[in-house]
Subunit: 260 residues, 2 copies
DNA sequence: CATGACTGCGTATGTCATACGCTTTAATGC
DNA sequence: GCATTAAAGCGTATGACATACGCAGTCATG
């Protein structure tokens, strides 16, 4: 009970940054009181990133925003990269509501996928924070839990459930990155994303004109009028993935009943 | 004939970096001869990245590797980021063989997906070069062409073909990133990727023990013995995606015949 | 009340990308 | 053939930046 962190095996080695993220850092009993908290530092970093982009997040900027010296931040965070990592985990925000009792896996997983996309849209800078490895930060684990919840009882094997979650979240990140980069590049030259898209096709047409690009030319000839919304393109990819998963789930279910 | 670049509309505005990538830069007629070529600079950058990782690629490192002054590189490349962009495009290498006459779309697209993965494995640093936008560099366009070739005659609409290509290449990059990051993190602490994986699950078990993570606990209890190879996990995701596309292609084909 | 862990943080170091401008080179216009 | 002038190589300078180190002040504990 003296240990507010619950009972961890004392001999268990946890990387510094992970321990920090989970709030498992010791009572700093002896010295002067801290003037800040890790949460404040992270929140300030997020505010800077949100306002001026990730490239504006420097240790000195965050520090001065907090009214402290640059080096003081290193009392809260071992490295800038750890700060970014914590920022990303926090800024991702809470996952959408978990699969309700009686709800099918597909609507639940769809909601989960759209939650991922929404998070990356809300805080576009997150996609510039490199993924350090498998999900280990508290919020990432929470998201993972909800993802697995959606897949309970589908008959998918454990490794398949993991791959599925990875596939869907990877798609969300991929898609957010592609469209986000495009939008940012457009904004940098003062165009709307639509204009930038038009421009892209014009450039591509010019560049591929002299060369052997039959499939691209065919596509450009056909595309013309039909213009999809971003949302429809996102749904297209997601629906393909979910259709693929559904096919497997159904096959499994059929095999299962056969065996019974 | 005096124009070796072919006949581009003279009034057409192409961004500097794109023009550079396509070799559309003017006869530098007046001054002294260049001692290097853009290709040499790019190749040297790639060599450095391959040897010591992308963080070792600095303008001064590349320059000294070439035996020239740092600032000389700026006669070949407007910005470091443009150099990285060119490096990535070149290092990706040639796409796998295009769809053969009579070959189905699925084997062709599978080969294309695996080519993407192989490229990212051959030059792992590529995944740290941010994607600047839609594919516009020469090699990227070539890859895109081959991707569209695979989808010819599937009945997919143009925007759907684009989304499909994006979906598959995004998956390859996503997957290469996830597994690559894991492998690098493991190597940094001197472990094999397998050991790192074991370690991850142990850490996750400890961290989630006190909290409400039923789906994660369920998964960890089941997983135990069964160990998938990386290759099998990659195939799982790819097969799901392709199954989803196949379902759509078949549905289209059925609808088409109905209408005839 | 003294000890010493811990605080904030000033200073210093080393690394980078890149702006600027000088000197040398060589193709072009006369 | 000679003057002109664009372009090449590159030394130097600038301004960010992350972070190592160490010091002086603080405060719970023995």
């Amino acid at each position: 009970m003296g240990d507010p962190d619950g009972d961890l095996p004392d001999d268990f080695e946890l990387p510094e940054n992970v321990a920090l993220a989970w709030g498992l850092r010791d009572r700093p009993s002896r010295g002067p009181k801290r003037s800040l908290s890790l949460e404040q530092v992270v929140a300030t970093g997020i505010r800077v990133a949100q306002a001026d982009g990730i490239s504006a997040v420097s240790m000195s900027r965050v520090a001065s925003e907090l009214g402290v010296g640059t080096m003081s931040l290193y009392r809260y965070v071992p490295t800038k990269h750890d700060l970014l990592d914590l920022m990303a985990d926090t800024a991702y925000g809470p996952p959408p509501s978990p699969r309700a009792p009686g709800e099918g896996w597909r609507p639940a997983l769809t909601r989960w996928a759209e939650g991922n996309l929404a998070a990356l849209r809300r805080q576009p800078w997150i996609r510039h924070v490199p993924i350090g490895g498998p999900p280990i930060n508290p919020n990432a684990v929470r998201w993972m839990e909800y993802g697995f919840l959606a897949l309970r009882g589908t008959g998918l094997r454990p490794t398949e459930r993991i791959s599925t979650i990875l596939l869907v979240s990877g798609y969300a990140r991929s898609w957010a990155t592609t469209t986000g980069d495009l939008a940012e590049a457009a904004a940098r030259t003062g165009q709307t994303p639509d204009e930038a898209g038009q421009r892209y096709w014009r450039q591509l047409a010019v560049l591929t004109a002299p060369g052997p690009y039959p499939a691209i030319h065919e596509l450009m000839a056909e595309v013309g009028e039909e213009e999809e919304t971003d949302e429809a393109e996102w749904r297209f990819g997601l629906d393909r993935i979910l259709d693929g998963i559904e096919a497997l789930v159904k096959a499994r279910a059929a095999g299962q009943t056969q065996h019974q």
